[in-house]
Symmetry: C2
Subunit: 278 residues, 2 copies
């Protein structure tokens, strides 16, 4: 990030005693900035507050948060880029225990200017990761600061040929990419893994589920494994910054950018996800 603001105080530094550092005791959001505004800000804030509730972290004041974000975008002249919000349980006594009645959250907001991803008309190549995701009902779905499995999975390749790697859980169920949600299309039906045991309920994933429903495309949240990709005719990935990446290659399997992927991308493009304009 080019610039950070911590606790709206103009400070841009963090206390090393913060529980966000000590235990990954917090949450984050990564939000696309397009034309100097946050895309799908409400959805990101909703997920952040859901995460705060799940972890018993005092939720930040949404109005204050939006004001700080707007100010940061303005002062840093960010037309296109990324806003990152980190909310932690703040400082506290040594040890895992915390007092939910007295803990005071730390809110750090960072901004970086960056051009949007260029849409990939023919799709991306994706590899398989051996590092598994951690299954944990208490943490599934939300975007916690405990992301070491993703870091280790992403370290499995340096080759730019692969845009993303797919991660499975310890039972062999495909869960997600390291930084993206996963979708396959079989018999004109979309399958995507549930996010109740592992994985993150991505904001773009939510938009895809909504768009599919609007277009009467059936979506099933179900587990599937690598062999199931044999029977898929389309595969795509999503996150808030990339929009959708059609997958053209996963291991020995090749795919075209198929009709369902195109329909979903067109629907997202209409909602401002210009990365989906093919």
């Amino acid at each position: 990030m080019n610039k950070w603001v911590v606790n709206s105080a103009g400070a841009s530094i963090l206390d090393p005693g913060d529980r966000g550092l000590a235990y990954g005791d917090g949450l984050f959001e990564t939000i696309a900035v397009r034309n100097s505004a946050c895309r799908f800000l409400d959805e990101h804030l909703t997920r952040l507050l859901t995460g705060c509730r799940q972890l018993h972290i005092p939720p930040p004041d949404s109005v204050q948060l939006v004001t700080s974000i707007d100010e940061l975008i303005r002062t840093e002249c960010c037309t296109n880029g990324v806003i990152k919000i980190i909310v932690t349980r703040g400082n506290g006594p040594r040890g895992y225990a915390f007092d939910p009645t007295t803990s005071e959250a730390t809110v750090a907001i960072g901004v970086t200017s960056a051009e949007p991803y260029i849409p990939s008309a023919e799709g991306v190549s994706v590899r398989d990761c051996t590092t598994t995701v951690s299954r944990n009902n208490a943490l599934a779905g939300i975007k916690t600061l405990n992301r070491l499995p993703q870091v280790m999975a992403r370290a499995e390749w340096q080759d730019d040929h692969f845009a993303e790697g797919l991660m499975s859980d310890d039972r062999g169920n495909l869960i997600s990419g390291t930084m993206s949600n996963l979708f396959i299309v079989r018999d004109n039906e979309i399958w995507t893994p549930p996010v109740t045991e592992a994985g993150i309920a991505g904001v773009m994933r939510g938009k895809i589920l909504e768009s599919a429903e609007t277009m009467n495309i059936k979506v099933t949240q179900r587990y599937f494994s690598k062999p199931d990709i044999n029977g898929a005719c389309e595969v795509f990935l999503s996150n808030s910054l990339i929009g959708i990446w059609p997958v053209k290659q996963f291991e020995e399997h090749s795919f075209n950018v198929g009709p369902v992927t195109r329909l979903i991308m067109a629907a997202l493009a209409k909602q401002g996800v210009t990365e989906c304009l093919l």
Copy 2:
């Protein structure tokens, strides 16, 4: 922590862009200070370096680290207390990817003065946690900054009656306490869970395994579940600060501080773990 030193530079602040905060991308050690010296420092540093290797984090210079710790203990006049070392992958570009050839670790050292735990002659009461530990081969054994399951498990009780809570994995295997390693004694044999899929290879756990071997007490690293505690005649917990806590109560089961626990505690007391002097 009363006082932090970051990167030996006298600074005591952290950049919010540090990957330790962003992803829990790092490791920590919690070391007992007794009579102004770190107890089992070599063992802690060995585990820290093992963790750095496992996560591909450039290891800190051990000599520099020891010098900084000694200086911090001296300047803060810490006779008894805790040294905490945090090593992270440092700052880096946005996203999970990192370049192992250019990343520069952040090293934060904190100190707090605190009296040693008073030995618990009759043992402690322990409860069961519903929050599970995350199993992940890539992260098991080492002390990473991804500790949210432990935070959430510790939040399951506020009652001081319980000194610790036991955590299982998703298959029902007991793995550890929230902050301690777990041992049960059955037929004069010690069982403790392996740390190859989840859990931490505690420094005090290592000392217990060594001491048991020296005394020809058989130790088996194997999984066991709550019903196996039925057949246990002794149960105890360990960590670097508490030494050993005999367990007197776990749910409906009561235990005495038995002969094997006493032998191990006596062996540790001889090695300077005064918390084990019964």
